[in-house]
Symmetry: C2
C-alpha cells in the first residue's frame, strides 16, 4: 500500500521492542499499584536483565521521554505502551477450530488485558456447532464470511489441525480478515498486506524437549 | 556442564531446524496416512515455501538420508523426527498457576502428541486447591518439591502472573526441575544448565496489534 506519510511520523517500532513492551507494561502497572510515581531505566533494566540503554531506546521508539534525575512518569509510560499496543482499544476476534486448543483459548479470558476479545468460534464439526464455551457460541464454518463482514471483524485466530490450516487462512482472507493469529504448527501463505503472527507451541516444545534430551545424553 | 563427547557425535541441531521439525512431522504423518511411502525434498519444500536445500539440510542434521531418485522413506523420517523431539517417549510435567491460562492448558490434551503430558497443577489459591481440571488435580504450592522429587518430574510449566514468575522459577529450580516452559510474559533468570523456553503470547499479540494499528493509520 502506498503512503506519503513521512517515516518519522509513523515511527516504525521494531518487533524486538514490541515484544518487550508487554513485560514493561506489567512491571509498570505493578509499580504504580504499589504507589510509585516515577521510575528510571536502570530500575527496569535490573529487573529484566537488559541494559539501561536498551530500555531508553525502547521508550524513545514509542515516543516516551524521561527527565534527567526524575526518570519517567510511570502513568505516562503505561499510557504510551497501552496506545502503542492497542490495549486501550479492545478488538474483537473470531476463532476457527473449536477442538482442544480452540476451546482452551475460548475459555481463556486473559487476552482481554491485551486488548483482544474472542467473541465467537467456528467449526465444521456438527457436534460442536450450536454449543458454546464460556458463553461464546460455536457457529458452522459457512457463516464465517457473513458474520465477519456484518461485525467488521479484522482478526482471525486459527486453531485447526495442520492439514486444514492453509485452507482456513484462505477463507479468512477472502472474508476480509486483516490479521491472522496462527496457533497451528505450520507456516501459512497469505497475500501481501495481510498480517500473520504465529504462536508455535509445538516448535517451542520441540526445542525444550531436544535440549533436555541432549542434557540427559551428557550425564 | 563439561563433556568430552566430541561435537560430531552429539550432532547439535540448530533451533531453527528444531522449530521446523513439528511441521514436517505433521505433513509426513498425513502423507503416510494417505498411503504414500516415499517423499522428495522438493515436495516438502513446495508445501512449506522453503527451498529443497533447506529441507535436505534439516534432514541431514537429524541424521536422515534420502536416496537419489527414490527420495526419503516417509516412515524412516517420521521415526527420526519422533526420536529427535522425544515424541516417542512421553515426559510428564507439572504446571504452576491454575488461573485462566493454567486451566486452559490443563484442559488441553494436545501436547501429548508432542510427547508432553501435564499430570498435575499447583497453586497457592486455597479455592483452587483440591479441585481438578480434566482429571488433573490442583495441589497446594507447598507440595511441589516433594511431588517433583517423588515422581522424578523434570519439566515445569509456568502460568502464574507476571510478578510471581521469577519466584516460581526459583522454586522450580530448587525442587530439581531441569526445564521450564514459561508462558508468563516476562523474562526469567535461571542458573546455568537449566533450560528455559518461552511461549510469549502477549508479545506475539503485541506485534499483531501494532501492525494492524499501523495499517489502519495508513488507510
Amino acid at each position: 500500500m502506498e503512503s506519503s506519510i513521512p517515516q518519522e511520523i509513523l515511527k516504525p517500532i521494531s518487533e524486538a521492542t514490541l515484544m518487550r513492551l508487554p513485560a514493561y507494561y506489567h512491571y509498570l502497572v505493578t509499580a504504580m499499584d504499589s504507589g510509585e510515581e516515577t521510575i528510571s531505566c536502570s530500575n527496569i533494566a535490573q529487573r529484566f536483565g537488559f541494559t539501561s540503554i536498551q530500555i531508553r531506546k525502547d521508550f524513545e521508539s514509542i515516543g516516551a521521554a524521561g527527565r534527567p534525575k526524575v526518570g519517567y512518569m510511570i502513568k505516562d509510560l503505561i499510557d504510551v505502551i497501552s496506545k502503542t499496543l492497542g490495549y486501550d482499544n479492545t478488538r474483537e476476534a473470531f476463532l476457527v477450530g473449536a477442538g482442544n486448543l480452540g476451546r482452551a483459548l475460548l475459555g481463556y479470558n486473559g487476552f482481554e488485558v491485551y486488548g483482544l476479545k474472542i467473541i465467537a468460534a467456528f467449526d465444521n464439526d456438527v457436534k460442536a456447532q450450536g454449543s458454546s464455551v464460556s458463553g461464546k457460541s460455536i457457529f458452522p464454518l459457512e457463516r464465517f464470511k457473513e458474520l465477519t463482514s456484518r461485525m467488521h471483524i479484522q482478526i482471525g485466530i486459527i486453531t485447526v489441525p495442520y492439514d486444514k490450516t492453509q485452507e482456513i487462512a484462505n477463507m479468512m482472507v477472502s472474508a476480509g480478515i486483516k490479521a491472522i493469529w496462527n496457533f497451528a504448527p505450520v507456516h501459512i501463505e497469505v497475500p501481501d498486506g495481510i498480517i500473520v503472527e504465529n504462536v508455535n507451541m509445538a516448535a517451542s516444545l520441540a526445542v525444550l524437549s531436544n535440549k533436555l534430551q541432549n542434557k540427559e545424553r551428557l550425564l
